[in-house]
């Protein structure tokens, strides 16, 4: 379980997160949704410690994460995997080397064991015969899948995904969503996904948190989201013409 308590974060006097408190449930796909610039990425990066919050607490189980020193944080981080918006694969390394990187850095496994694990992770995300390719030779969807393979290479307990569907066509986006959901169930991970894609919400959202201008405005499930009486949330959920028509016709 990941708990965030009274988190505040500002950049140059502009408040981006305002007293955010939320709990992310274990073994589930938790979604943070909201408009662009609403504070989703800052919240996610504050949870994983890439941003230092101005105040507030981030708990991983019963460990107060944001008060730990670098080395103690490192131990928790070994249990985390993260998929970045732009994939963040290392340009100078091949697909295989990218996925092997956490294993090289943090395990003392033999080369054969590491290669087996890399191949297992790449097969799991359906990347075949691409081990020797560089990130610049991959499509957007393939990059995301390789980034997921890298994120799961150390069998993480927590998976964080920052807009995993951005820049992908709808079919590839669904494949990525399904992959995240399957992996969450398979490894019993606590997964947090940042998105503004309503398809993802309806596809994989088990717990959904809606954030607007740095404030948590609504929490619930994908079944509850369609019947919410939160006006800002409704404006977001039913933003496109088709959704508006369906809502007004009661379907």
């Amino acid at each position: 379980m990941i708990r965030v308590l009274n988190l505040d974060k500002s950049f140059n006097a502009k408040k981006v997160l305002d007293n955010v408190s939320v709990t992310f449930e274990p073994g589930k796909t938790n979604l943070i949704i909201g408009r662009s610039g609403s504070g989703k990425t800052v919240l996610l990066k504050s949870i994983v410690g890439l941003h230092e919050p101005d105040s507030g607490e981030v708990w991983f189980e019963d460990i107060l994460f944001n008060n730990l020193d670098f080395n103690s944080k490192k131990e928790i981080r070994k249990q985390m995997g993260m998929l970045f918006q732009g994939s963040a694969l290392f340009d100078s390394l091949t697909v295989e080397q990218n996925v092997r990187f956490p294993l090289d850095m943090f395990t003392s496994k033999s080369m054969q064991e590491k290669t087996d694990r890399v191949n297992f992770c790449l097969n799991r995300v359906n990347i075949i015969n691409a081990n020797k390719l560089f990130p610049s030779e991959l499509s957007g969807g393939m990059k995301k899948r390789v980034a997921i393979a890298r994120a799961i290479s150390l069998n993480p307990k927590y998976l964080f995904c920052d807009e995993p569907n951005s820049g992908l066509d709808p079919l590839t986006a669904i494949l990525i969503d399904e992959l995240i959901k399957e992996l969450t169930e398979e490894y019993s991970m606590t997964t947090i996904v940042n998105t503004h894609d309503m398809n993802s919400v309806m596809e994989i959202g088990e717990k959904i948190v809606f954030i607007n201008e740095g404030l948590i405005c609504w929490e619930g499930s994908k079944h509850e989201i369609l019947n919410s009486d939160c006006e800002i949330l409704n404006d977001f959920v039913f933003a496109n013409a088709l959704a508006k028509q369906l809502k007004s016709s009661g379907k």
């Binding site: 890439l50 490192k74 985390m80 732009g86 963040a88 956490p102």
Partner: protein, 247 residues
């Protein structure tokens, strides 16, 4: 002034993290070998070409400015040797490397910053500052003295070829001149300067790249800043070291 002191503090804090104990020394060794080739070996060509012509011009200018029967012509060789060892090979080479290697380091690390690759390293629990910067500093410290030695050798060779081809000095006089009153300490002085300059180039450029915020435009700016600041610091330390080491 406050901004300058803030940046200075950030630079030294970065250095503190750079010189912390590596997570996996074997990976750092591999990375250092890669940087030795990338930053050092790949610079041999440009250093050779520039040093050759530098030596040639120094010889010709010395010859045309000492066209007087009271000056023995072997002084042309001596002037060429001392100018190259004392100043040109260490300082000019460093300024060239600030342009080539410095911009390279700043843009590489800057691009990693804006594409979240550094965040990915941090996220994994890797000390990104040390992993990315330490191998570059070690590689430049190891290889730049070698580049300076190449520069000295090729510069003197260029002077000899240009001098003899232009007919301003005989081969015998030039060779006598480069051996005449040789002070080995000048090589030590040149090497000490090179080590300081190598550290300035790699650490200042890495600093500019590491703290980039924004996108490709800012990476370009960081790259320019890396070259400008490294060059200015090289010139400043050139004066300080000269005073300290030769006075």
């Amino acid at each position: 002034m406050i901004k300058f002191l803030t940046e200075l503090g950030r630079y030294f804090l970065m250095l503190k993290k750079v010189f912390s104990i590596p997570e996996k020394p074997a990976l750092y060794y591999k990375q250092t070998m890669h940087e030795l080739v990338y930053l050092g070996f790949n610079s041999i060509g440009i250093i050779t070409i520039i040093s050759f012509f530098m030596g040639a011009v120094i010889t010709l200018q010395t010859a045309y400015n000492t066209e007087n029967p009271i000056y023995p012509t072997y002084l042309i060789g001596l002037g060429c040797r001392d100018s190259i060892i004392l100043e040109f090979s260490s300082t000019i080479t460093a300024l060239i490397l600030a342009g080539k290697v410095g911009s390279n380091i700043a843009s590489e690390i800057g691009t990693m910053r804006v594409t979240e690759q550094i965040d990915a390293l941090e996220m994994m629990g890797v000390n990104s500052t040390s992993y990315l910067i330490l191998p570059k500093i070690i590689a430049t410290l190891l290889f730049n003295p070698f580049l300076t030695l190449i520069s000295i050798s090729v510069g003197i060779l260029g002077g000899w070829i240009a001098g003899t081809l232009a007919g301003v000095v005989t081969s015998e006089d030039f060779i006598y001149g480069i051996q005449y009153a040789f002070i080995p300490y000048y090589i030590t002085y040149s090497m000490i300067k090179t080590l300081f300059f190598a550290f300035i180039i790699s650490s200042v450029s890495a600093f500019q790249g590491y703290f980039v915020e924004g996108g490709s435009l800012e990476v370009g700016r960081a790259s320019t800043k890396a070259v400008v600041y490294s060059s200015l610091l090289i010139l400043l330390f050139n004066v300080i070291l000269t005073q300290l080491l030769l006075s």
